[in-house]
Protein backbone atom coordinates (compact mmCIF):
# COMPACT_ATOMS: atom_id res chain seq x y z
CA UNK A 1 0.00 0.00 0.00
CA UNK A 2 1.56 3.28 -1.14
CA UNK A 3 0.16 5.54 1.57
CA UNK A 4 -0.81 3.61 4.68
CA UNK A 5 -2.84 5.61 7.16
CA UNK A 6 -0.47 6.81 9.85
CA UNK A 7 -1.03 5.90 13.45
CA UNK A 8 -2.39 8.87 15.39
CA UNK A 9 0.02 10.33 17.91
CA UNK A 10 -1.57 9.96 21.39
CA UNK A 11 -0.24 13.37 22.47
CA UNK A 12 -1.90 15.07 19.49
CA UNK A 13 -5.12 13.12 20.12
CA UNK A 14 -5.13 14.22 23.76
CA UNK A 15 -4.50 17.85 22.80
CA UNK A 16 -7.35 17.84 20.30
CA UNK A 17 -9.77 16.23 22.77
CA UNK A 18 -8.83 18.93 25.26
CA UNK A 19 -9.09 21.85 22.86
CA UNK A 20 -11.10 21.16 19.71
CA UNK A 21 -14.59 20.74 21.16
CA UNK A 22 -17.81 22.38 20.00
CA UNK A 23 -18.53 25.48 22.09
CA UNK A 24 -22.08 26.16 20.83
CA UNK A 25 -23.85 29.45 21.30
CA UNK A 26 -24.47 30.70 24.84
CA UNK A 27 -27.60 32.39 23.46
CA UNK A 28 -29.33 29.01 23.64
CA UNK A 29 -29.44 29.55 27.41
CA UNK A 30 -30.03 33.28 27.45
CA UNK A 31 -26.36 34.28 27.09
CA UNK A 32 -24.84 36.64 24.56
CA UNK A 33 -25.86 36.14 20.98
CA UNK A 34 -24.34 36.72 17.55
CA UNK A 35 -22.27 33.60 18.08
CA UNK A 36 -20.60 31.82 15.18
CA UNK A 37 -18.67 28.59 15.12
CA UNK A 38 -17.37 26.35 12.39
CA UNK A 39 -15.22 23.26 11.91
CA UNK A 40 -13.34 23.56 8.66
CA UNK A 41 -11.37 21.02 6.63
CA UNK A 42 -9.29 21.25 3.45
CA UNK A 43 -8.12 18.20 1.53
CA UNK A 44 -5.74 18.38 -1.44
CA UNK A 45 -5.32 15.36 -3.68
CA UNK A 46 -4.13 15.18 -7.27
CA UNK A 47 -7.04 16.38 -9.38
CA UNK A 48 -9.34 17.27 -6.50
CA UNK A 49 -9.48 19.82 -3.70
CA UNK A 50 -12.18 19.82 -1.05
CA UNK A 51 -13.41 22.40 1.42
CA UNK A 52 -15.78 21.03 4.05
CA UNK A 53 -17.28 23.25 6.73
CA UNK A 54 -19.71 22.38 9.53
CA UNK A 55 -21.16 25.76 10.43
CA UNK A 56 -23.33 27.00 13.31
CA UNK A 57 -24.47 30.61 13.65
CA UNK A 58 -27.04 32.36 15.77
CA UNK A 59 -30.10 33.22 13.73
CA UNK A 60 -30.08 36.98 13.23
CA UNK A 61 -33.62 36.98 11.86
CA UNK A 62 -35.48 34.19 13.65
CA UNK A 63 -39.07 33.31 12.96
CA UNK A 64 -41.59 34.84 15.37
CA UNK A 65 -41.59 33.08 18.72
CA UNK A 66 -38.21 31.42 18.18
CA UNK A 67 -35.30 32.47 20.40
CA UNK A 68 -31.76 31.23 20.81
CA UNK A 69 -31.86 29.15 17.65
CA UNK A 70 -28.65 28.35 15.81
CA UNK A 71 -28.67 27.86 12.05
CA UNK A 72 -26.78 24.73 11.04
CA UNK A 73 -25.26 24.74 7.57
CA UNK A 74 -22.82 22.66 5.62
CA UNK A 75 -20.59 24.53 3.22
CA UNK A 76 -18.92 22.24 0.73
CA UNK A 77 -16.76 23.22 -2.23
CA UNK A 78 -15.11 20.71 -4.53
CA UNK A 79 -12.62 21.62 -7.21
CA UNK A 80 -11.88 19.03 -9.86
CA UNK A 81 -9.53 20.34 -12.52
CA UNK A 82 -10.69 23.88 -13.25
CA UNK A 83 -14.28 23.17 -12.29
CA UNK A 84 -15.85 23.91 -8.93
CA UNK A 85 -19.09 22.61 -7.56
CA UNK A 86 -20.47 23.36 -4.16
CA UNK A 87 -23.32 24.46 -2.05
CA UNK A 88 -24.46 25.87 1.26
CA UNK A 89 -27.05 23.57 2.76
CA UNK A 90 -29.18 24.55 5.71
CA UNK A 91 -30.51 21.85 8.01
CA UNK A 92 -33.61 21.89 10.16
CA UNK A 93 -32.82 21.90 13.86
CA UNK A 94 -34.32 18.44 14.34
CA UNK A 95 -31.79 17.06 11.81
CA UNK A 96 -28.81 18.41 13.74
CA UNK A 97 -26.95 16.91 16.68
CA UNK A 98 -23.91 18.71 18.05
CA UNK A 99 -23.25 17.90 21.70
CA UNK A 100 -21.51 20.78 23.42
CA UNK A 101 -18.06 19.79 24.68
CA UNK A 102 -17.72 17.01 22.11
CA UNK A 103 -16.12 16.74 18.73
CA UNK A 104 -18.97 15.01 16.96
CA UNK A 105 -21.64 16.54 14.77
CA UNK A 106 -24.47 15.32 12.65
CA UNK A 107 -26.02 17.64 10.05
CA UNK A 108 -28.66 15.53 8.39
CA UNK A 109 -26.87 12.61 6.76
CA UNK A 110 -23.50 14.35 7.11
CA UNK A 111 -21.31 13.60 10.08
CA UNK A 112 -18.08 14.64 11.72
CA UNK A 113 -16.64 12.21 14.25
CA UNK A 114 -13.39 12.18 16.16
CA UNK A 115 -12.60 8.50 16.58
CA UNK A 116 -9.34 6.96 17.76
CA UNK A 117 -7.45 10.17 17.09
CA UNK A 118 -8.86 10.63 13.54
CA UNK A 119 -11.42 13.03 12.14
CA UNK A 120 -13.91 10.97 10.18
CA UNK A 121 -16.10 12.89 7.75
CA UNK A 122 -19.09 11.37 6.05
CA UNK A 123 -20.90 13.47 3.45
CA UNK A 124 -24.13 12.87 1.60
CA UNK A 125 -25.35 15.94 -0.30
CA UNK A 126 -27.91 15.15 -2.97
CA UNK A 127 -27.80 18.37 -5.04
CA UNK A 128 -24.56 17.34 -6.75
CA UNK A 129 -24.87 13.64 -5.87
CA UNK A 130 -21.85 14.23 -3.64
CA UNK A 131 -20.88 11.53 -1.19
CA UNK A 132 -17.63 11.10 0.65
CA UNK A 133 -16.02 9.06 3.39
CA UNK A 134 -12.78 10.57 4.62
CA UNK A 135 -10.44 9.83 7.47
CA UNK A 136 -8.03 12.60 8.47
CA UNK A 137 -5.13 11.79 10.76
CA UNK A 138 -3.62 14.86 12.45
CA UNK A 139 0.14 14.98 11.92
CA UNK A 140 0.83 18.18 13.84
CA UNK A 141 -0.01 19.55 17.24
CA UNK A 142 -2.77 22.16 17.12
CA UNK A 143 -2.32 25.86 17.74
CA UNK A 144 -4.99 27.74 19.65
CA UNK A 145 -5.59 31.46 20.13
CA UNK A 146 -8.46 32.56 22.33
CA UNK A 147 -10.40 35.81 22.08
CA UNK A 148 -8.31 37.54 19.45
CA UNK A 149 -9.51 41.06 18.58
CA UNK A 150 -11.53 41.00 15.39
CA UNK A 151 -13.40 44.30 15.28
CA UNK A 152 -14.21 46.92 17.92
CA UNK A 153 -15.84 44.94 20.75
CA UNK A 154 -15.59 41.68 18.83
CA UNK A 155 -13.30 38.71 19.34
CA UNK A 156 -12.65 35.47 17.51
CA UNK A 157 -11.00 32.33 18.81
CA UNK A 158 -9.32 29.84 16.59
CA UNK A 159 -7.62 26.50 16.65
CA UNK A 160 -5.80 25.06 13.71
CA UNK A 161 -4.08 21.83 12.82
CA UNK A 162 -1.64 22.78 10.06
CA UNK A 163 -1.31 19.30 8.63
CA UNK A 164 -3.27 16.09 8.47
CA UNK A 165 -3.20 13.14 6.13
CA UNK A 166 -6.49 12.27 4.45
CA UNK A 167 -7.64 8.98 2.99
CA UNK A 168 -10.95 7.74 1.68
CA UNK A 169 -13.10 8.46 -1.33
CA UNK A 170 -15.33 11.09 -2.87
CA UNK A 171 -18.13 10.38 -5.31
CA UNK A 172 -19.55 13.16 -7.48
CA UNK A 173 -22.34 12.28 -9.86
CA UNK A 174 -21.32 8.58 -9.91
CA UNK A 175 -17.61 9.31 -10.49
CA UNK A 176 -15.51 8.08 -7.58
CA UNK A 177 -12.14 9.56 -6.72
CA UNK A 178 -9.87 7.76 -4.29
CA UNK A 179 -8.02 9.88 -1.74
CA UNK A 180 -4.81 8.26 -0.56
CA UNK A 181 -2.49 9.98 1.88
CA UNK A 182 -3.49 13.46 0.74
CA UNK A 183 -2.28 16.59 2.56
CA UNK A 184 -5.05 18.22 4.56
CA UNK A 185 -5.67 21.11 6.94
CA UNK A 186 -8.18 21.75 9.72
CA UNK A 187 -9.32 24.73 11.71
CA UNK A 188 -12.04 25.51 14.21
CA UNK A 189 -13.28 29.04 14.87
CA UNK A 190 -15.75 30.51 17.30
CA UNK A 191 -16.69 33.95 18.51
CA UNK A 192 -19.29 36.67 18.66
CA UNK A 193 -19.55 38.92 15.62
CA UNK A 194 -21.78 39.67 12.68
CA UNK A 195 -21.02 39.82 8.99
CA UNK A 196 -20.64 43.48 8.16
CA UNK A 197 -18.61 44.33 11.28
CA UNK A 198 -15.47 46.35 10.74
CA UNK A 199 -13.07 43.53 9.93
CA UNK A 200 -11.59 41.43 7.17
CA UNK A 201 -9.10 38.61 7.13
CA UNK A 202 -6.71 36.77 4.91
CA UNK A 203 -6.07 33.20 5.93
CA UNK A 204 -4.05 30.61 4.08
CA UNK A 205 -2.82 27.07 4.40
CA UNK A 206 0.29 25.92 2.53
CA UNK A 207 1.40 22.30 2.44
CA UNK A 208 4.04 20.39 0.54
CA UNK A 209 2.99 17.76 -1.96
CA UNK A 210 5.96 15.68 -0.78
CA UNK A 211 4.88 13.76 2.30
CA UNK A 212 8.45 13.51 3.55
CA UNK A 213 8.89 17.28 3.66
CA UNK A 214 8.47 18.17 7.35
CA UNK A 215 7.26 21.77 6.92
CA UNK A 216 3.68 23.04 7.09
CA UNK A 217 2.68 26.70 6.95
CA UNK A 218 -0.31 28.80 7.95
CA UNK A 219 -0.61 32.49 7.15
CA UNK A 220 -3.10 34.89 8.68
CA UNK A 221 -3.74 38.60 8.66
CA UNK A 222 -6.59 40.40 10.38
CA UNK A 223 -7.47 43.89 9.24
CA UNK A 224 -10.23 46.45 9.27
CA UNK A 225 -13.00 46.21 6.71
CA UNK A 226 -11.33 48.65 4.34
CA UNK A 227 -8.02 46.74 4.65
CA UNK A 228 -6.25 49.97 5.48
CA UNK A 229 -4.92 48.79 8.86
CA UNK A 230 -3.84 45.30 9.90
CA UNK A 231 -4.44 44.53 13.57
CA UNK A 232 -2.33 41.38 13.62
CA UNK A 233 -0.62 39.04 11.24
CA UNK A 234 1.39 35.88 11.50
CA UNK A 235 3.22 33.19 9.60
CA UNK A 236 3.17 29.90 11.46
CA UNK A 237 5.68 27.24 10.48
CA UNK A 238 5.43 23.74 11.83
CA UNK A 239 8.34 21.34 11.52
CA UNK A 240 7.04 17.80 11.85
CA UNK A 241 4.57 17.66 14.73
CA UNK A 242 5.79 20.77 16.52
CA UNK A 243 5.90 24.51 15.87
CA UNK A 244 9.15 25.30 14.11
CA UNK A 245 8.96 29.09 13.96
CA UNK A 246 6.25 31.69 14.37
CA UNK A 247 6.69 35.12 12.82
CA UNK A 248 4.37 37.83 14.04
CA UNK A 249 3.20 41.30 13.11
CA UNK A 250 6.18 43.51 12.23
CA UNK A 251 8.31 40.49 11.40
CA UNK A 252 6.14 40.08 8.28
CA UNK A 253 5.98 42.08 5.08
CA UNK A 254 2.99 41.23 2.90
CA UNK A 255 2.67 42.31 -0.70
CA UNK A 256 -0.29 41.80 -2.98
CA UNK A 257 0.43 42.07 -6.70
CA UNK A 258 -1.91 42.51 -9.62
CA UNK A 259 -5.50 41.42 -9.76
CA UNK A 260 -6.93 37.95 -10.20
CA UNK A 261 -9.49 38.19 -12.97
CA UNK A 262 -11.89 35.35 -13.69
CA UNK A 263 -14.98 35.92 -15.77
CA UNK A 264 -16.77 32.90 -14.30
CA UNK A 265 -16.53 31.34 -10.90
CA UNK A 266 -18.77 29.57 -8.46
CA UNK A 267 -20.74 31.67 -6.00
CA UNK A 268 -22.73 30.09 -3.19
CA UNK A 269 -25.52 30.27 -2.20
CA UNK A 270 -26.44 30.87 -5.87
CA UNK A 271 -29.01 33.56 -5.13
CA UNK A 272 -26.28 35.70 -3.56
CA UNK A 273 -24.70 36.03 -7.01
CA UNK A 274 -27.41 38.59 -7.69
CA UNK A 275 -26.10 40.72 -4.86
CA UNK A 276 -22.35 40.26 -5.32
CA UNK A 277 -21.38 40.64 -8.94
CA UNK A 278 -18.30 38.66 -9.90
CA UNK A 279 -16.36 41.76 -10.87
CA UNK A 280 -16.16 42.79 -7.23
CA UNK A 281 -13.82 40.02 -6.12
CA UNK A 282 -10.78 42.35 -5.83
CA UNK A 283 -8.21 39.60 -5.31
CA UNK A 284 -4.46 39.57 -5.89
CA UNK A 285 -2.86 37.73 -8.78
CA UNK A 286 0.05 36.99 -6.49
CA UNK A 287 0.67 37.22 -2.75
CA UNK A 288 4.13 37.41 -1.24
CA UNK A 289 4.94 37.13 2.43
CA UNK A 290 8.45 37.83 3.61
CA UNK A 291 9.18 37.02 7.23
CA UNK A 292 12.42 37.77 9.00
CA UNK A 293 13.55 37.77 12.61
CA UNK A 294 17.13 37.38 13.74
CA UNK A 295 18.84 34.86 11.53
CA UNK A 296 15.57 33.28 10.43
CA UNK A 297 13.92 34.29 7.21
CA UNK A 298 11.17 32.77 5.10
CA UNK A 299 9.50 33.76 1.87
CA UNK A 300 6.09 32.48 0.82
CA UNK A 301 4.70 33.07 -2.66
CA UNK A 302 1.11 32.18 -3.41
CA UNK A 303 -0.03 32.18 -7.03
CA UNK A 304 -3.82 31.95 -7.20
CA UNK A 305 -5.33 29.80 -9.92
CA UNK A 306 -9.04 29.50 -9.23
CA UNK A 307 -11.63 30.70 -6.83
CA UNK A 308 -15.09 30.22 -5.47
CA UNK A 309 -17.06 32.63 -3.31
CA UNK A 310 -19.16 31.99 -0.24
CA UNK A 311 -21.34 35.05 0.18
CA UNK A 312 -22.91 36.06 3.48
CA UNK A 313 -25.58 38.73 3.84
CA UNK A 314 -24.56 41.50 6.19
CA UNK A 315 -26.26 41.08 9.52
CA UNK A 316 -25.87 44.67 10.70
CA UNK A 317 -28.13 45.96 8.00
CA UNK A 318 -30.74 44.72 5.55
CA UNK A 319 -28.41 45.38 2.62
CA UNK A 320 -24.78 44.49 2.00
CA UNK A 321 -22.89 41.25 1.65
CA UNK A 322 -19.51 39.84 2.58
CA UNK A 323 -17.65 37.55 0.20
CA UNK A 324 -15.38 34.84 1.52
CA UNK A 325 -13.15 34.20 -1.47
CA UNK A 326 -11.77 30.68 -1.38
CA UNK A 327 -8.75 30.80 -3.64
CA UNK A 328 -6.80 27.75 -4.64
CA UNK A 329 -3.35 27.89 -6.12
CA UNK A 330 0.30 26.99 -5.91
CA UNK A 331 2.54 27.90 -3.03
CA UNK A 332 6.30 28.06 -2.88
CA UNK A 333 8.00 28.44 0.47
CA UNK A 334 11.70 28.79 1.03
CA UNK A 335 14.00 30.13 3.67
CA UNK A 336 16.14 29.24 6.63
CA UNK A 337 15.04 28.58 10.20
CA UNK A 338 17.44 27.80 13.06
CA UNK A 339 20.18 27.23 10.54
CA UNK A 340 18.14 24.73 8.54
CA UNK A 341 17.11 25.38 4.97
CA UNK A 342 13.47 24.83 4.18
CA UNK A 343 11.86 24.65 0.79
CA UNK A 344 8.70 23.19 -0.64
CA UNK A 345 6.02 23.57 -3.27
CA UNK A 346 2.49 22.44 -2.86
CA UNK A 347 -1.17 23.28 -2.76
CA UNK A 348 -2.39 26.44 -1.13
CA UNK A 349 -5.90 27.46 -0.22
CA UNK A 350 -6.28 31.06 0.87
CA UNK A 351 -9.40 32.81 2.09
CA UNK A 352 -9.78 36.52 1.41
CA UNK A 353 -12.69 38.38 2.97
CA UNK A 354 -14.05 41.23 0.92
CA UNK A 355 -17.03 43.47 1.62
Amino acid sequence: MANPEPTPNPAITAALRRLDWFRRSPARFGGPGEHKEWQHFLVHAPGIHLLINFNLIDDRWPSPGVRGEEIARMIVLVQTGREWIGEVVRFASDAVEVPVGGLDARFGANTLRFVAGCYRLSLDLPTHALRAELSLVPLTMPAIANNQPLAPGRVLSWLFVPRLRASGWVTIASRTIEIAGAPAYHDHNWGHFVWGDDFSWEWGSALPWASDNPWSVVYMRMADRGRARASCQGLYLWRGEQPGRIFRDHELEVRLHGRLVRSKFLQVPPIMALLAPRASADLPARLEVRAAAGEDQVELVFEPEDLAQIIMPHERDVVGATALNEVGGRVRVQGRVAGEALEFEGPGMFEFIRD
Partner: protein, 155 residues
Protein backbone atom coordinates in the same frame (compact mmCIF):
# COMPACT_ATOMS: atom_id res chain seq x y z
CA UNK B 1 -49.12 67.90 1.13
CA UNK B 2 -51.14 65.25 -0.68
CA UNK B 3 -53.17 62.96 1.51
CA UNK B 4 -51.73 59.47 1.68
CA UNK B 5 -54.21 56.68 1.08
CA UNK B 6 -53.22 53.49 2.89
CA UNK B 7 -52.77 50.57 0.57
CA UNK B 8 -54.04 47.29 1.98
CA UNK B 9 -51.71 44.29 2.01
CA UNK B 10 -51.34 43.17 -1.59
CA UNK B 11 -52.45 39.62 -0.91
CA UNK B 12 -55.72 40.87 0.65
CA UNK B 13 -56.85 42.76 -2.40
CA UNK B 14 -60.08 41.43 -3.85
CA UNK B 15 -58.69 40.62 -7.23
CA UNK B 16 -59.89 37.26 -8.47
CA UNK B 17 -58.00 37.69 -11.71
CA UNK B 18 -54.64 37.43 -9.98
CA UNK B 19 -52.89 34.23 -10.99
CA UNK B 20 -50.75 31.98 -8.78
CA UNK B 21 -47.46 33.75 -9.53
CA UNK B 22 -49.01 37.13 -8.76
CA UNK B 23 -50.46 35.84 -5.51
CA UNK B 24 -47.07 34.47 -4.51
CA UNK B 25 -45.41 37.78 -5.34
CA UNK B 26 -48.04 39.64 -3.33
CA UNK B 27 -47.51 37.30 -0.42
CA UNK B 28 -43.76 37.95 -0.56
CA UNK B 29 -44.28 41.73 -0.33
CA UNK B 30 -46.58 41.24 2.65
CA UNK B 31 -44.14 38.88 4.34
CA UNK B 32 -41.27 41.31 3.88
CA UNK B 33 -43.36 44.17 5.25
CA UNK B 34 -44.39 42.14 8.28
CA UNK B 35 -41.12 40.41 9.15
CA UNK B 36 -38.46 42.82 7.91
CA UNK B 37 -40.06 46.26 7.66
CA UNK B 38 -36.63 47.90 7.26
CA UNK B 39 -35.96 45.79 4.17
CA UNK B 40 -39.43 46.54 2.83
CA UNK B 41 -38.80 50.26 3.29
CA UNK B 42 -35.41 49.95 1.56
CA UNK B 43 -37.10 48.27 -1.37
CA UNK B 44 -39.75 50.97 -1.64
CA UNK B 45 -37.38 53.91 -1.30
CA UNK B 46 -36.19 53.94 -4.93
CA UNK B 47 -39.50 52.67 -6.29
CA UNK B 48 -41.96 55.09 -4.71
CA UNK B 49 -44.08 56.71 -7.39
CA UNK B 50 -43.20 54.15 -10.05
CA UNK B 51 -45.55 51.83 -11.88
CA UNK B 52 -44.57 48.60 -13.63
CA UNK B 53 -46.19 46.21 -16.06
CA UNK B 54 -44.97 42.72 -15.32
CA UNK B 55 -45.64 39.77 -17.60
CA UNK B 56 -44.70 36.47 -15.96
CA UNK B 57 -45.56 33.43 -18.02
CA UNK B 58 -49.22 33.94 -18.89
CA UNK B 59 -49.88 36.37 -16.04
CA UNK B 60 -50.01 40.11 -16.59
CA UNK B 61 -49.63 42.27 -13.49
CA UNK B 62 -49.62 45.93 -12.79
CA UNK B 63 -47.58 47.15 -9.83
CA UNK B 64 -47.81 50.56 -8.29
CA UNK B 65 -45.25 51.45 -5.64
CA UNK B 66 -46.17 54.04 -3.06
CA UNK B 67 -45.83 53.44 0.70
CA UNK B 68 -46.75 49.87 -0.12
CA UNK B 69 -47.09 47.81 -3.26
CA UNK B 70 -50.41 47.82 -5.06
CA UNK B 71 -50.57 44.77 -7.24
CA UNK B 72 -53.44 44.31 -9.68
CA UNK B 73 -54.14 42.23 -12.72
CA UNK B 74 -52.86 43.92 -15.84
CA UNK B 75 -54.15 43.74 -19.35
CA UNK B 76 -50.87 42.63 -20.86
CA UNK B 77 -50.95 45.41 -23.43
CA UNK B 78 -48.21 47.99 -23.74
CA UNK B 79 -48.97 51.02 -21.58
CA UNK B 80 -47.27 54.10 -23.01
CA UNK B 81 -44.65 55.44 -20.64
CA UNK B 82 -44.96 52.59 -18.18
CA UNK B 83 -41.91 50.36 -17.64
CA UNK B 84 -42.56 46.80 -18.69
CA UNK B 85 -40.72 43.58 -17.79
CA UNK B 86 -41.51 40.30 -19.41
CA UNK B 87 -40.07 36.88 -18.69
CA UNK B 88 -40.92 33.29 -17.97
CA UNK B 89 -40.72 31.44 -14.68
CA UNK B 90 -37.81 29.20 -15.73
CA UNK B 91 -35.80 32.37 -16.40
CA UNK B 92 -36.50 33.67 -12.91
CA UNK B 93 -35.44 30.37 -11.40
CA UNK B 94 -32.32 30.25 -13.58
CA UNK B 95 -31.33 33.69 -12.26
CA UNK B 96 -32.07 32.71 -8.66
CA UNK B 97 -29.98 29.55 -9.13
CA UNK B 98 -27.15 31.57 -10.76
CA UNK B 99 -27.37 29.53 -13.92
CA UNK B 100 -27.98 32.80 -15.68
CA UNK B 101 -26.94 36.23 -14.52
CA UNK B 102 -29.37 39.11 -14.65
CA UNK B 103 -27.25 40.72 -17.36
CA UNK B 104 -27.15 37.52 -19.40
CA UNK B 105 -30.91 37.18 -19.07
CA UNK B 106 -31.39 40.69 -20.46
CA UNK B 107 -28.80 40.30 -23.20
CA UNK B 108 -30.34 37.05 -24.37
CA UNK B 109 -33.87 38.51 -24.32
CA UNK B 110 -34.94 35.86 -21.82
CA UNK B 111 -35.77 38.89 -19.69
CA UNK B 112 -37.23 41.73 -21.74
CA UNK B 113 -37.20 45.17 -20.23
CA UNK B 114 -38.67 48.37 -21.65
CA UNK B 115 -38.10 51.49 -19.61
CA UNK B 116 -36.26 54.75 -19.79
CA UNK B 117 -32.83 54.61 -18.22
CA UNK B 118 -33.67 56.59 -15.09
CA UNK B 119 -36.56 54.35 -14.15
CA UNK B 120 -34.62 51.25 -15.12
CA UNK B 121 -31.92 52.17 -12.63
CA UNK B 122 -34.52 52.73 -9.92
CA UNK B 123 -36.22 49.42 -10.69
CA UNK B 124 -32.87 47.64 -10.49
CA UNK B 125 -32.15 49.27 -7.12
CA UNK B 126 -35.57 48.20 -5.87
CA UNK B 127 -35.07 44.66 -7.12
CA UNK B 128 -31.72 44.33 -5.34
CA UNK B 129 -33.20 45.69 -2.11
CA UNK B 130 -36.04 43.15 -2.45
CA UNK B 131 -33.52 40.30 -2.88
CA UNK B 132 -31.46 41.59 0.06
CA UNK B 133 -34.62 41.37 2.14
CA UNK B 134 -35.55 37.98 0.73
CA UNK B 135 -32.27 36.32 1.66
CA UNK B 136 -32.68 37.51 5.26
CA UNK B 137 -36.38 37.06 5.79
CA UNK B 138 -37.71 33.90 7.43
CA UNK B 139 -40.49 32.48 5.30
CA UNK B 140 -38.91 33.20 1.92
CA UNK B 141 -37.35 29.74 1.50
CA UNK B 142 -40.87 28.31 1.71
CA UNK B 143 -42.11 30.81 -0.89
CA UNK B 144 -39.27 29.79 -3.17
CA UNK B 145 -40.21 26.15 -2.77
CA UNK B 146 -43.73 27.03 -3.85
CA UNK B 147 -42.41 29.00 -6.83
CA UNK B 148 -40.39 25.98 -7.94
CA UNK B 149 -43.48 23.81 -7.58
CA UNK B 150 -45.38 26.24 -9.80
CA UNK B 151 -42.67 25.98 -12.44
CA UNK B 152 -42.84 22.19 -12.36
CA UNK B 153 -46.64 21.97 -12.37
CA UNK B 154 -48.08 25.07 -13.96
CA UNK B 155 -51.80 25.44 -13.34
Amino acid sequence: MPRETPIPPASELELPALGPIARLLAESFDLLAARLPDAHARMLAPLRGLELELILDAEALHLRFEHGVELTAGGGELVPGCPRIECRLPTILAVLDAKLSLVEAVESDALQVRADLDRLVLLHEGLLAYVHGAVRCPGFPELLTRLRALAQSPP
